[in-house]
Symmetry: C2
Subunit: 320 residues, 2 copies
Protein backbone atom coordinates (compact mmCIF):
# COMPACT_ATOMS: atom_id res chain seq x y z
CA UNK A 1 0.00 0.00 0.00
CA UNK A 2 3.04 2.28 -0.13
CA UNK A 3 2.60 5.37 -2.28
CA UNK A 4 4.67 8.46 -2.83
CA UNK A 5 4.33 11.17 -0.24
CA UNK A 6 5.94 14.52 -0.75
CA UNK A 7 7.73 15.96 2.23
CA UNK A 8 8.52 19.63 1.83
CA UNK A 9 10.52 21.66 4.32
CA UNK A 10 10.03 25.29 5.23
CA UNK A 11 13.05 26.26 3.14
CA UNK A 12 11.68 24.46 0.10
CA UNK A 13 8.25 26.01 0.58
CA UNK A 14 9.71 29.50 0.93
CA UNK A 15 11.47 29.02 -2.38
CA UNK A 16 8.28 27.75 -4.05
CA UNK A 17 5.54 30.08 -2.80
CA UNK A 18 5.84 33.80 -3.55
CA UNK A 19 3.34 36.34 -2.25
CA UNK A 20 1.81 37.33 -5.57
CA UNK A 21 -1.56 37.90 -7.18
CA UNK A 22 -1.71 34.22 -8.10
CA UNK A 23 -1.76 33.37 -4.41
CA UNK A 24 -4.35 36.08 -3.74
CA UNK A 25 -6.53 34.50 -6.45
CA UNK A 26 -6.15 31.06 -4.84
CA UNK A 27 -7.31 32.35 -1.48
CA UNK A 28 -10.08 34.38 -3.09
CA UNK A 29 -11.38 31.20 -4.69
CA UNK A 30 -11.50 29.60 -1.24
CA UNK A 31 -13.72 32.43 0.02
CA UNK A 32 -15.98 32.00 -3.00
CA UNK A 33 -16.24 28.28 -2.27
CA UNK A 34 -17.06 29.01 1.39
CA UNK A 35 -19.83 31.34 0.27
CA UNK A 36 -21.23 28.58 -1.93
CA UNK A 37 -22.13 26.56 1.12
CA UNK A 38 -20.54 23.36 -0.16
CA UNK A 39 -17.36 23.60 1.89
CA UNK A 40 -17.19 21.27 4.86
CA UNK A 41 -15.27 23.01 7.63
CA UNK A 42 -15.51 21.60 11.16
CA UNK A 43 -15.01 23.82 14.19
CA UNK A 44 -11.38 24.44 15.08
CA UNK A 45 -9.92 21.86 17.47
CA UNK A 46 -8.04 23.68 20.21
CA UNK A 47 -5.89 22.28 22.98
CA UNK A 48 -4.73 24.69 25.67
CA UNK A 49 -1.63 23.43 27.48
CA UNK A 50 -1.44 25.91 30.32
CA UNK A 51 1.15 23.88 32.24
CA UNK A 52 3.71 24.39 29.45
CA UNK A 53 2.39 27.76 28.19
CA UNK A 54 1.41 26.10 24.95
CA UNK A 55 -1.54 25.92 22.65
CA UNK A 56 -2.40 23.78 19.66
CA UNK A 57 -5.00 24.61 17.02
CA UNK A 58 -6.16 22.30 14.26
CA UNK A 59 -8.02 23.54 11.20
CA UNK A 60 -9.25 21.65 8.20
CA UNK A 61 -11.73 22.06 5.38
CA UNK A 62 -12.91 20.12 2.37
CA UNK A 63 -13.54 22.26 -0.72
CA UNK A 64 -15.49 20.50 -3.48
CA UNK A 65 -13.63 20.58 -6.74
CA UNK A 66 -10.14 20.63 -5.21
CA UNK A 67 -8.03 17.47 -5.51
CA UNK A 68 -6.79 17.73 -1.93
CA UNK A 69 -7.69 18.88 1.50
CA UNK A 70 -5.30 20.01 4.20
CA UNK A 71 -5.26 19.54 7.92
CA UNK A 72 -3.21 22.18 9.61
CA UNK A 73 -1.72 22.09 13.08
CA UNK A 74 -0.57 25.40 14.53
CA UNK A 75 1.47 25.43 17.70
CA UNK A 76 2.25 28.30 20.03
CA UNK A 77 4.64 27.58 22.89
CA UNK A 78 5.40 30.81 24.63
CA UNK A 79 8.39 29.69 26.70
CA UNK A 80 10.27 28.98 23.47
CA UNK A 81 11.72 32.45 23.08
CA UNK A 82 13.74 31.93 26.25
CA UNK A 83 15.12 28.78 24.64
CA UNK A 84 16.08 30.57 21.43
CA UNK A 85 13.26 28.86 19.53
CA UNK A 86 10.36 30.40 17.63
CA UNK A 87 7.13 30.52 19.60
CA UNK A 88 4.95 29.59 16.67
CA UNK A 89 5.17 26.47 14.57
CA UNK A 90 3.22 23.72 12.94
CA UNK A 91 2.69 21.86 9.73
CA UNK A 92 0.08 20.91 7.17
CA UNK A 93 -0.77 17.41 6.07
CA UNK A 94 -2.38 17.15 2.66
CA UNK A 95 -4.77 14.34 1.77
CA UNK A 96 -6.36 13.23 -1.48
CA UNK A 97 -9.93 14.48 -1.56
CA UNK A 98 -11.03 11.28 -3.29
CA UNK A 99 -9.09 8.53 -1.45
CA UNK A 100 -8.00 10.16 1.81
CA UNK A 101 -4.44 9.02 1.18
CA UNK A 102 -1.68 11.24 2.49
CA UNK A 103 -0.24 13.16 -0.45
CA UNK A 104 2.16 15.48 1.29
CA UNK A 105 3.51 16.71 4.59
CA UNK A 106 4.34 20.41 4.48
CA UNK A 107 6.76 21.12 7.31
CA UNK A 108 6.22 24.85 7.00
CA UNK A 109 6.51 25.98 10.64
CA UNK A 110 3.64 28.36 10.00
CA UNK A 111 5.02 29.88 6.78
CA UNK A 112 2.00 28.86 4.70
CA UNK A 113 -0.33 30.23 7.36
CA UNK A 114 1.52 33.53 7.19
CA UNK A 115 1.14 33.58 3.42
CA UNK A 116 -2.52 32.62 3.22
CA UNK A 117 -3.32 35.12 5.98
CA UNK A 118 -1.63 37.90 4.06
CA UNK A 119 -3.39 36.81 0.87
CA UNK A 120 -6.75 36.93 2.67
CA UNK A 121 -5.99 40.52 3.64
CA UNK A 122 -5.40 41.31 -0.03
CA UNK A 123 -8.71 39.64 -0.94
CA UNK A 124 -10.50 41.85 1.58
CA UNK A 125 -8.74 44.96 0.26
CA UNK A 126 -9.47 44.00 -3.35
CA UNK A 127 -13.21 43.75 -2.71
CA UNK A 128 -13.81 46.29 0.06
CA UNK A 129 -11.22 49.06 -0.04
CA UNK A 130 -11.99 52.20 -2.05
CA UNK A 131 -10.80 51.90 -5.64
CA UNK A 132 -8.17 54.53 -5.04
CA UNK A 133 -5.84 54.05 -2.12
CA UNK A 134 -2.86 56.36 -2.06
CA UNK A 135 -1.95 55.85 1.59
CA UNK A 136 -2.17 52.60 3.55
CA UNK A 137 -1.50 52.17 7.24
CA UNK A 138 -0.61 49.22 9.38
CA UNK A 139 -1.03 48.89 13.12
CA UNK A 140 1.47 46.43 14.45
CA UNK A 141 5.11 45.90 13.48
CA UNK A 142 5.57 42.15 13.20
CA UNK A 143 5.79 39.76 10.31
CA UNK A 144 2.10 40.10 9.42
CA UNK A 145 2.41 43.90 9.40
CA UNK A 146 4.98 43.52 6.63
CA UNK A 147 3.14 40.76 4.78
CA UNK A 148 -0.26 42.45 4.96
CA UNK A 149 1.12 45.64 3.43
CA UNK A 150 3.00 43.73 0.73
CA UNK A 151 -0.17 41.76 -0.09
CA UNK A 152 -2.44 44.82 -0.04
CA UNK A 153 -0.04 46.63 -2.37
CA UNK A 154 -0.65 43.92 -4.98
CA UNK A 155 -4.30 44.96 -5.25
CA UNK A 156 -4.14 48.65 -4.25
CA UNK A 157 -0.74 50.02 -5.33
CA UNK A 158 -0.59 52.83 -2.78
CA UNK A 159 2.42 55.11 -2.81
CA UNK A 160 2.80 55.65 0.92
CA UNK A 161 2.59 53.36 3.91
CA UNK A 162 2.25 54.47 7.53
CA UNK A 163 3.34 52.28 10.43
CA UNK A 164 2.38 52.48 14.07
CA UNK A 165 3.50 50.23 16.89
CA UNK A 166 3.90 50.56 20.63
CA UNK A 167 7.66 50.12 20.15
CA UNK A 168 8.93 52.92 17.93
CA UNK A 169 12.16 51.11 17.08
CA UNK A 170 10.24 48.12 15.81
CA UNK A 171 7.94 50.45 13.87
CA UNK A 172 11.00 52.04 12.25
CA UNK A 173 12.38 48.65 11.29
CA UNK A 174 9.05 47.64 9.83
CA UNK A 175 8.79 50.87 7.86
CA UNK A 176 12.31 50.45 6.54
CA UNK A 177 11.55 46.90 5.41
CA UNK A 178 8.38 48.01 3.69
CA UNK A 179 10.06 50.93 1.96
CA UNK A 180 12.62 48.55 0.55
CA UNK A 181 10.18 45.77 -0.35
CA UNK A 182 7.65 48.03 -2.04
CA UNK A 183 9.84 50.89 -3.25
CA UNK A 184 7.53 53.48 -1.73
CA UNK A 185 7.58 56.02 1.07
CA UNK A 186 7.17 54.46 4.48
CA UNK A 187 6.67 56.57 7.57
CA UNK A 188 6.42 55.86 11.26
CA UNK A 189 3.59 57.78 12.92
CA UNK A 190 3.46 58.41 16.65
CA UNK A 191 -0.30 58.42 16.99
CA UNK A 192 -2.48 55.63 15.61
CA UNK A 193 -5.36 58.10 15.29
CA UNK A 194 -3.27 60.08 12.83
CA UNK A 195 -2.37 56.91 10.95
CA UNK A 196 -6.04 56.06 10.48
CA UNK A 197 -6.92 59.63 9.58
CA UNK A 198 -4.35 59.80 6.79
CA UNK A 199 -5.02 56.36 5.29
CA UNK A 200 -7.72 54.94 3.04
CA UNK A 201 -6.75 51.37 3.92
CA UNK A 202 -5.73 50.24 7.41
CA UNK A 203 -4.80 46.75 8.54
CA UNK A 204 -4.54 45.88 12.22
CA UNK A 205 -2.12 43.03 12.89
CA UNK A 206 -1.81 42.81 16.65
CA UNK A 207 -2.67 40.23 19.33
CA UNK A 208 -4.40 43.03 21.25
CA UNK A 209 -6.84 42.28 24.05
CA UNK A 210 -7.91 45.93 24.32
CA UNK A 211 -8.86 48.04 21.31
CA UNK A 212 -6.00 49.62 19.36
CA UNK A 213 -8.38 51.36 16.91
CA UNK A 214 -11.15 53.60 18.21
CA UNK A 215 -14.54 54.06 16.59
CA UNK A 216 -14.26 57.84 16.38
CA UNK A 217 -11.15 57.53 14.20
CA UNK A 218 -13.13 56.03 11.33
CA UNK A 219 -13.70 58.44 8.45
CA UNK A 220 -15.50 58.29 5.11
CA UNK A 221 -13.63 56.38 2.43
CA UNK A 222 -11.79 54.10 4.84
CA UNK A 223 -11.44 50.34 4.78
CA UNK A 224 -10.12 48.52 7.83
CA UNK A 225 -9.08 44.88 7.90
CA UNK A 226 -8.65 43.47 11.41
CA UNK A 227 -6.68 40.23 11.17
CA UNK A 228 -5.15 39.90 14.63
CA UNK A 229 -8.00 38.46 16.65
CA UNK A 230 -8.23 34.68 16.49
CA UNK A 231 -9.14 33.73 20.04
CA UNK A 232 -11.99 34.51 22.47
CA UNK A 233 -10.03 37.04 24.54
CA UNK A 234 -8.64 39.06 21.65
CA UNK A 235 -9.93 42.12 19.81
CA UNK A 236 -8.31 45.07 18.02
CA UNK A 237 -11.24 47.35 17.22
CA UNK A 238 -13.47 49.20 19.65
CA UNK A 239 -16.79 47.33 19.42
CA UNK A 240 -18.55 50.58 18.49
CA UNK A 241 -16.42 50.75 15.34
CA UNK A 242 -18.39 47.84 13.87
CA UNK A 243 -21.58 49.90 14.16
CA UNK A 244 -19.99 53.09 12.93
CA UNK A 245 -18.91 51.33 9.72
CA UNK A 246 -21.35 51.21 6.82
CA UNK A 247 -20.44 47.58 6.27
CA UNK A 248 -18.90 44.89 8.47
CA UNK A 249 -17.84 41.70 6.70
CA UNK A 250 -16.79 38.41 8.32
CA UNK A 251 -14.46 35.84 6.87
CA UNK A 252 -16.60 33.15 8.48
CA UNK A 253 -19.60 34.06 10.60
CA UNK A 254 -19.36 31.05 12.92
CA UNK A 255 -15.76 32.03 13.73
CA UNK A 256 -16.02 35.81 14.12
CA UNK A 257 -18.84 35.39 16.64
CA UNK A 258 -16.46 33.47 18.91
CA UNK A 259 -12.97 34.55 17.88
CA UNK A 260 -13.18 37.79 15.95
CA UNK A 261 -14.09 41.45 16.44
CA UNK A 262 -17.80 40.67 16.39
CA UNK A 263 -17.52 38.75 19.67
CA UNK A 264 -16.96 41.86 21.80
CA UNK A 265 -19.75 43.75 20.03
CA UNK A 266 -22.16 40.90 20.70
CA UNK A 267 -20.99 40.59 24.31
CA UNK A 268 -21.42 44.33 24.81
CA UNK A 269 -24.99 43.97 23.55
CA UNK A 270 -24.48 46.66 20.93
CA UNK A 271 -24.57 44.52 17.77
CA UNK A 272 -27.98 45.25 16.24
CA UNK A 273 -27.44 44.45 12.57
CA UNK A 274 -28.29 40.76 12.53
CA UNK A 275 -26.24 38.39 10.42
CA UNK A 276 -23.33 40.14 8.73
CA UNK A 277 -22.25 39.07 5.26
CA UNK A 278 -19.24 36.87 4.67
CA UNK A 279 -16.40 37.97 2.43
CA UNK A 280 -17.24 35.26 -0.10
CA UNK A 281 -20.69 36.77 -0.66
CA UNK A 282 -19.13 40.15 -1.38
CA UNK A 283 -16.73 38.55 -3.87
CA UNK A 284 -19.49 36.75 -5.75
CA UNK A 285 -21.76 39.78 -5.70
CA UNK A 286 -24.40 38.02 -3.62
CA UNK A 287 -23.86 40.93 -1.25
CA UNK A 288 -23.32 44.36 -2.85
CA UNK A 289 -20.33 45.23 -0.65
CA UNK A 290 -19.05 48.81 -0.69
CA UNK A 291 -21.73 51.12 -2.11
CA UNK A 292 -19.80 54.36 -2.44
CA UNK A 293 -16.23 55.67 -2.27
CA UNK A 294 -17.22 57.34 1.00
CA UNK A 295 -18.39 54.18 2.74
CA UNK A 296 -16.56 52.93 5.79
CA UNK A 297 -15.95 49.18 5.57
CA UNK A 298 -14.48 46.65 7.99
CA UNK A 299 -13.30 43.12 7.28
CA UNK A 300 -12.83 40.75 10.23
CA UNK A 301 -10.44 37.91 9.47
CA UNK A 302 -10.02 35.03 11.91
CA UNK A 303 -8.47 32.59 9.45
CA UNK A 304 -10.20 29.57 8.02
CA UNK A 305 -9.36 25.97 7.25
CA UNK A 306 -10.57 26.68 3.72
CA UNK A 307 -7.62 29.03 3.24
CA UNK A 308 -5.29 26.27 4.45
CA UNK A 309 -6.73 23.72 2.06
CA UNK A 310 -6.52 26.27 -0.74
CA UNK A 311 -2.86 27.13 -0.25
CA UNK A 312 -1.84 23.52 0.37
CA UNK A 313 -3.54 22.34 -2.80
CA UNK A 314 -1.94 25.25 -4.65
CA UNK A 315 1.49 24.22 -3.37
CA UNK A 316 1.10 20.68 -4.66
CA UNK A 317 0.39 22.04 -8.12
CA UNK A 318 3.52 24.21 -8.20
CA UNK A 319 6.78 23.17 -9.85
CA UNK A 320 9.35 22.18 -7.25
CA UNK B 1 15.02 27.07 12.68
CA UNK B 2 15.54 23.71 10.97
CA UNK B 3 15.63 20.73 13.30
CA UNK B 4 15.63 16.99 12.74
CA UNK B 5 12.26 15.40 12.13
CA UNK B 6 11.92 11.65 11.95
CA UNK B 7 9.76 10.33 9.15
CA UNK B 8 8.81 6.69 9.65
CA UNK B 9 6.89 4.64 7.10
CA UNK B 10 4.36 1.94 7.81
CA UNK B 11 6.91 -0.74 6.89
CA UNK B 12 9.46 0.72 9.31
CA UNK B 13 6.87 0.98 12.07
CA UNK B 14 5.71 -2.59 11.55
CA UNK B 15 9.30 -3.74 11.98
CA UNK B 16 9.72 -1.63 15.12
CA UNK B 17 6.52 -2.15 17.10
CA UNK B 18 5.57 -5.68 18.17
CA UNK B 19 2.32 -6.48 19.94
CA UNK B 20 3.78 -7.48 23.28
CA UNK B 21 3.27 -6.88 26.99
CA UNK B 22 5.55 -3.85 26.77
CA UNK B 23 3.02 -2.20 24.49
CA UNK B 24 0.17 -3.26 26.75
CA UNK B 25 1.98 -1.59 29.65
CA UNK B 26 2.41 1.61 27.62
CA UNK B 27 -1.30 1.81 26.87
CA UNK B 28 -2.17 0.88 30.45
CA UNK B 29 -0.11 3.83 31.64
CA UNK B 30 -2.15 6.09 29.36
CA UNK B 31 -5.36 4.91 31.02
CA UNK B 32 -3.84 5.55 34.43
CA UNK B 33 -2.89 9.06 33.34
CA UNK B 34 -6.43 9.65 32.03
CA UNK B 35 -7.82 8.57 35.38
CA UNK B 36 -5.51 11.04 37.12
CA UNK B 37 -7.40 13.92 35.56
CA UNK B 38 -4.30 15.71 34.32
CA UNK B 39 -4.57 14.59 30.71
CA UNK B 40 -5.78 17.26 28.30
CA UNK B 41 -7.83 15.56 25.60
CA UNK B 42 -10.07 17.73 23.41
CA UNK B 43 -13.19 16.31 21.79
CA UNK B 44 -12.55 14.39 18.58
CA UNK B 45 -12.62 16.57 15.47
CA UNK B 46 -14.73 14.80 12.84
CA UNK B 47 -15.31 15.72 9.22
CA UNK B 48 -17.94 13.76 7.33
CA UNK B 49 -17.41 13.91 3.57
CA UNK B 50 -20.64 12.34 2.34
CA UNK B 51 -20.07 13.42 -1.27
CA UNK B 52 -17.00 11.19 -1.52
CA UNK B 53 -18.04 8.57 1.04
CA UNK B 54 -15.25 9.67 3.27
CA UNK B 55 -14.69 10.58 6.88
CA UNK B 56 -11.81 12.10 8.77
CA UNK B 57 -11.27 11.92 12.53
CA UNK B 58 -8.62 13.77 14.49
CA UNK B 59 -7.61 12.79 18.01
CA UNK B 60 -5.01 14.26 20.26
CA UNK B 61 -4.08 14.29 23.93
CA UNK B 62 -1.42 15.78 26.14
CA UNK B 63 -0.24 13.47 28.92
CA UNK B 64 1.81 15.20 31.64
CA UNK B 65 5.17 13.53 32.09
CA UNK B 66 5.52 12.33 28.51
CA UNK B 67 8.07 14.08 26.28
CA UNK B 68 5.73 14.15 23.30
CA UNK B 69 2.14 14.37 22.27
CA UNK B 70 0.60 12.97 19.12
CA UNK B 71 -2.06 14.27 16.82
CA UNK B 72 -3.63 11.48 14.84
CA UNK B 73 -5.63 11.74 11.66
CA UNK B 74 -7.70 8.69 10.72
CA UNK B 75 -9.28 8.51 7.30
CA UNK B 76 -12.01 6.23 6.01
CA UNK B 77 -12.83 6.48 2.31
CA UNK B 78 -15.27 3.75 1.48
CA UNK B 79 -15.05 3.89 -2.31
CA UNK B 80 -11.38 2.93 -2.07
CA UNK B 81 -11.95 -0.82 -2.16
CA UNK B 82 -13.28 -0.52 -5.70
CA UNK B 83 -10.02 1.23 -6.58
CA UNK B 84 -7.88 -1.48 -5.03
CA UNK B 85 -6.92 0.78 -2.14
CA UNK B 86 -7.42 0.27 1.59
CA UNK B 87 -10.46 2.07 2.98
CA UNK B 88 -8.73 3.14 6.17
CA UNK B 89 -5.63 5.25 6.48
CA UNK B 90 -4.03 8.10 8.28
CA UNK B 91 -0.95 9.20 10.11
CA UNK B 92 0.31 10.55 13.41
CA UNK B 93 2.32 13.70 13.89
CA UNK B 94 4.38 13.83 17.06
CA UNK B 95 5.23 17.09 18.80
CA UNK B 96 7.53 17.98 21.64
CA UNK B 97 5.46 18.43 24.77
CA UNK B 98 7.72 21.27 25.89
CA UNK B 99 8.36 23.26 22.68
CA UNK B 100 5.60 22.14 20.30
CA UNK B 101 8.17 21.43 17.62
CA UNK B 102 7.41 18.60 15.23
CA UNK B 103 9.49 15.60 16.26
CA UNK B 104 8.21 12.95 13.93
CA UNK B 105 5.70 12.08 11.27
CA UNK B 106 4.53 8.48 11.55
CA UNK B 107 3.10 7.47 8.18
CA UNK B 108 1.46 4.41 9.65
CA UNK B 109 -1.74 4.16 7.56
CA UNK B 110 -3.57 3.21 10.75
CA UNK B 111 -1.11 0.52 11.90
CA UNK B 112 -0.39 2.23 15.21
CA UNK B 113 -4.11 2.70 15.81
CA UNK B 114 -4.61 -1.01 15.24
CA UNK B 115 -1.86 -1.79 17.73
CA UNK B 116 -2.91 0.63 20.47
CA UNK B 117 -6.53 -0.54 20.07
CA UNK B 118 -5.51 -4.17 20.52
CA UNK B 119 -3.33 -3.22 23.47
CA UNK B 120 -6.29 -1.42 25.09
CA UNK B 121 -8.29 -4.64 24.77
CA UNK B 122 -5.52 -6.44 26.62
CA UNK B 123 -5.55 -3.79 29.35
CA UNK B 124 -9.29 -4.31 29.79
CA UNK B 125 -8.84 -8.09 29.91
CA UNK B 126 -5.95 -7.80 32.36
CA UNK B 127 -8.01 -5.81 34.85
CA UNK B 128 -11.55 -7.07 34.27
CA UNK B 129 -11.54 -10.64 32.96
CA UNK B 130 -11.70 -13.51 35.45
CA UNK B 131 -8.26 -14.65 36.56
CA UNK B 132 -8.70 -17.92 34.74
CA UNK B 133 -9.70 -17.80 31.12
CA UNK B 134 -9.45 -21.11 29.28
CA UNK B 135 -11.65 -20.15 26.33
CA UNK B 136 -11.85 -16.79 24.61
CA UNK B 137 -14.23 -15.81 21.86
CA UNK B 138 -14.19 -13.12 19.24
CA UNK B 139 -17.14 -11.73 17.33
CA UNK B 140 -15.96 -10.38 14.01
CA UNK B 141 -13.35 -11.72 11.63
CA UNK B 142 -11.28 -8.75 10.57
CA UNK B 143 -7.86 -7.48 11.53
CA UNK B 144 -8.98 -6.39 15.01
CA UNK B 145 -10.50 -9.83 15.65
CA UNK B 146 -7.04 -11.29 15.16
CA UNK B 147 -5.20 -8.52 17.04
CA UNK B 148 -7.61 -8.47 19.98
CA UNK B 149 -7.21 -12.20 20.53
CA UNK B 150 -3.42 -12.02 20.20
CA UNK B 151 -3.34 -9.13 22.67
CA UNK B 152 -5.72 -10.79 25.13
CA UNK B 153 -3.65 -13.97 25.03
CA UNK B 154 -0.69 -12.00 26.39
CA UNK B 155 -2.57 -11.37 29.64
CA UNK B 156 -4.92 -14.39 29.77
CA UNK B 157 -3.15 -17.32 28.08
CA UNK B 158 -6.32 -19.20 27.11
CA UNK B 159 -5.96 -22.52 25.31
CA UNK B 160 -8.93 -22.21 22.96
CA UNK B 161 -10.33 -19.43 20.86
CA UNK B 162 -13.79 -19.36 19.28
CA UNK B 163 -14.60 -17.23 16.26
CA UNK B 164 -17.95 -16.10 14.93
CA UNK B 165 -18.67 -13.93 11.91
CA UNK B 166 -21.52 -13.48 9.49
CA UNK B 167 -19.27 -14.86 6.75
CA UNK B 168 -18.21 -18.39 7.68
CA UNK B 169 -15.31 -18.44 5.25
CA UNK B 170 -13.85 -15.31 6.79
CA UNK B 171 -14.40 -16.82 10.24
CA UNK B 172 -12.47 -19.91 9.16
CA UNK B 173 -9.61 -17.80 7.85
CA UNK B 174 -9.52 -15.83 11.09
CA UNK B 175 -9.54 -19.00 13.17
CA UNK B 176 -6.73 -20.49 11.08
CA UNK B 177 -4.64 -17.36 11.51
CA UNK B 178 -5.22 -17.36 15.27
CA UNK B 179 -4.40 -21.05 15.62
CA UNK B 180 -1.10 -20.42 13.89
CA UNK B 181 -0.28 -17.18 15.67
CA UNK B 182 -1.09 -18.46 19.16
CA UNK B 183 -0.42 -22.18 18.79
CA UNK B 184 -3.80 -23.05 20.32
CA UNK B 185 -7.08 -24.59 19.23
CA UNK B 186 -9.23 -22.23 17.20
CA UNK B 187 -12.77 -23.09 16.28
CA UNK B 188 -15.45 -21.46 14.18
CA UNK B 189 -18.85 -21.51 15.86
CA UNK B 190 -22.08 -21.08 13.94
CA UNK B 191 -24.04 -19.39 16.68
CA UNK B 192 -22.72 -16.35 18.54
CA UNK B 193 -24.84 -17.31 21.57
CA UNK B 194 -22.86 -20.54 21.81
CA UNK B 195 -19.60 -18.64 21.46
CA UNK B 196 -20.49 -16.41 24.40
CA UNK B 197 -21.79 -19.33 26.44
CA UNK B 198 -18.54 -21.30 26.11
CA UNK B 199 -16.14 -18.38 26.69
CA UNK B 200 -14.96 -16.52 29.78
CA UNK B 201 -13.64 -13.62 27.68
CA UNK B 202 -15.38 -12.25 24.61
CA UNK B 203 -14.31 -9.36 22.43
CA UNK B 204 -16.67 -7.82 19.89
CA UNK B 205 -14.87 -6.23 16.95
CA UNK B 206 -17.56 -5.28 14.46
CA UNK B 207 -18.89 -2.01 12.99
CA UNK B 208 -22.40 -3.23 13.88
CA UNK B 209 -25.34 -0.84 13.98
CA UNK B 210 -27.63 -3.48 15.48
CA UNK B 211 -26.65 -5.63 18.48
CA UNK B 212 -24.55 -8.70 17.74
CA UNK B 213 -24.47 -9.75 21.41
CA UNK B 214 -27.71 -10.17 23.35
CA UNK B 215 -28.18 -9.51 27.05
CA UNK B 216 -29.56 -12.97 27.83
CA UNK B 217 -26.33 -14.57 26.59
CA UNK B 218 -24.32 -13.07 29.43
CA UNK B 219 -23.39 -15.59 32.12
CA UNK B 220 -21.52 -15.52 35.44
CA UNK B 221 -17.78 -15.35 35.09
CA UNK B 222 -17.81 -13.57 31.73
CA UNK B 223 -15.95 -10.49 30.63
CA UNK B 224 -16.93 -8.74 27.40
CA UNK B 225 -14.91 -6.03 25.71
CA UNK B 226 -16.81 -4.15 23.01
CA UNK B 227 -14.33 -2.24 20.86
CA UNK B 228 -16.21 -1.80 17.59
CA UNK B 229 -18.41 1.18 18.31
CA UNK B 230 -16.73 4.51 17.70
CA UNK B 231 -19.48 6.60 16.13
CA UNK B 232 -22.96 7.75 17.14
CA UNK B 233 -24.83 5.21 14.97
CA UNK B 234 -22.86 2.16 16.05
CA UNK B 235 -23.36 -0.38 18.83
CA UNK B 236 -22.55 -4.08 19.28
CA UNK B 237 -24.22 -4.97 22.55
CA UNK B 238 -27.93 -5.03 23.30
CA UNK B 239 -28.43 -2.02 25.60
CA UNK B 240 -29.93 -4.30 28.29
CA UNK B 241 -26.58 -6.13 28.46
CA UNK B 242 -25.05 -3.10 30.17
CA UNK B 243 -27.61 -3.42 32.98
CA UNK B 244 -27.33 -7.18 33.19
CA UNK B 245 -23.58 -6.89 33.81
CA UNK B 246 -22.36 -6.41 37.37
CA UNK B 247 -19.92 -3.81 36.15
CA UNK B 248 -19.77 -1.63 33.06
CA UNK B 249 -16.50 0.26 32.50
CA UNK B 250 -15.83 3.04 29.98
CA UNK B 251 -12.52 3.90 28.40
CA UNK B 252 -13.56 7.55 28.53
CA UNK B 253 -16.94 8.61 29.84
CA UNK B 254 -17.31 11.67 27.61
CA UNK B 255 -16.76 9.44 24.57
CA UNK B 256 -18.86 6.36 25.41
CA UNK B 257 -21.88 8.56 26.06
CA UNK B 258 -21.73 9.74 22.45
CA UNK B 259 -19.87 7.03 20.56
CA UNK B 260 -19.91 3.84 22.59
CA UNK B 261 -22.29 1.19 23.87
CA UNK B 262 -23.57 3.47 26.60
CA UNK B 263 -25.14 5.81 24.05
CA UNK B 264 -27.91 3.39 23.08
CA UNK B 265 -28.65 2.54 26.72
CA UNK B 266 -28.98 6.23 27.56
CA UNK B 267 -31.13 6.87 24.49
CA UNK B 268 -33.35 3.92 25.38
CA UNK B 269 -33.80 5.48 28.81
CA UNK B 270 -32.72 2.29 30.58
CA UNK B 271 -29.37 3.43 31.98
CA UNK B 272 -30.01 3.92 35.70
CA UNK B 273 -26.57 3.48 37.21
CA UNK B 274 -25.29 7.03 37.04
CA UNK B 275 -21.69 7.70 36.13
CA UNK B 276 -19.84 4.50 35.24
CA UNK B 277 -16.18 4.12 36.18
CA UNK B 278 -13.41 4.57 33.66
CA UNK B 279 -10.88 1.84 33.00
CA UNK B 280 -8.10 3.93 34.49
CA UNK B 281 -9.88 4.01 37.87
CA UNK B 282 -10.10 0.22 37.85
CA UNK B 283 -6.38 -0.05 37.05
CA UNK B 284 -5.37 2.27 39.87
CA UNK B 285 -7.74 0.65 42.34
CA UNK B 286 -9.79 3.83 42.77
CA UNK B 287 -12.67 1.64 41.65
CA UNK B 288 -12.71 -1.96 42.95
CA UNK B 289 -13.45 -3.49 39.54
CA UNK B 290 -14.42 -7.14 39.39
CA UNK B 291 -15.56 -8.32 42.84
CA UNK B 292 -15.87 -12.06 42.26
CA UNK B 293 -14.98 -14.69 39.69
CA UNK B 294 -18.70 -14.94 38.95
CA UNK B 295 -19.19 -11.27 38.12
CA UNK B 296 -20.17 -10.24 34.64
CA UNK B 297 -18.08 -7.31 33.42
CA UNK B 298 -18.18 -5.18 30.29
CA UNK B 299 -15.54 -2.80 28.95
CA UNK B 300 -16.58 -0.25 26.34
CA UNK B 301 -13.66 0.99 24.26
CA UNK B 302 -14.10 3.88 21.86
CA UNK B 303 -10.43 4.72 21.48
CA UNK B 304 -8.75 7.75 22.98
CA UNK B 305 -6.21 10.30 21.91
CA UNK B 306 -4.31 9.40 25.07
CA UNK B 307 -3.64 5.95 23.59
CA UNK B 308 -2.32 7.60 20.44
CA UNK B 309 0.00 9.89 22.35
CA UNK B 310 1.16 6.90 24.42
CA UNK B 311 2.06 4.67 21.47
CA UNK B 312 3.60 7.51 19.47
CA UNK B 313 5.83 8.53 22.37
CA UNK B 314 6.70 4.85 22.88
CA UNK B 315 7.71 4.55 19.21
CA UNK B 316 10.08 7.50 19.44
CA UNK B 317 11.85 5.80 22.32
CA UNK B 318 12.39 2.53 20.43
CA UNK B 319 15.60 1.65 18.63
CA UNK B 320 15.19 1.99 14.86
Amino acid sequence: MAHDIRILTEAELRAMVPLDTGLVDVVEAAFVALAGGQVIMPPILSMDLAAVHGEVDVKTAYIPGLDSFALKVSTGFFDNAAKGLPSLGGLMTVFSATTGQVQAVLLDNGFLTDMRTAAAGAVAARHLAPAEVTTAGVIGTGLQARLQMRAAHLVRPFDRVLVWGRDTEKAAACAADLAEALGIEAEVVRDPAVLVQRAQLVVTTTPARAPVLQAEWLHPGLHVTAMGSDAPGKGELAPEALLRADLYVADRLSQVERLGELRAAIEAGIWTRGTPPELGAVITGAHPGRQSPDDITIADLTGTGAQDTAIATHVLGLPC
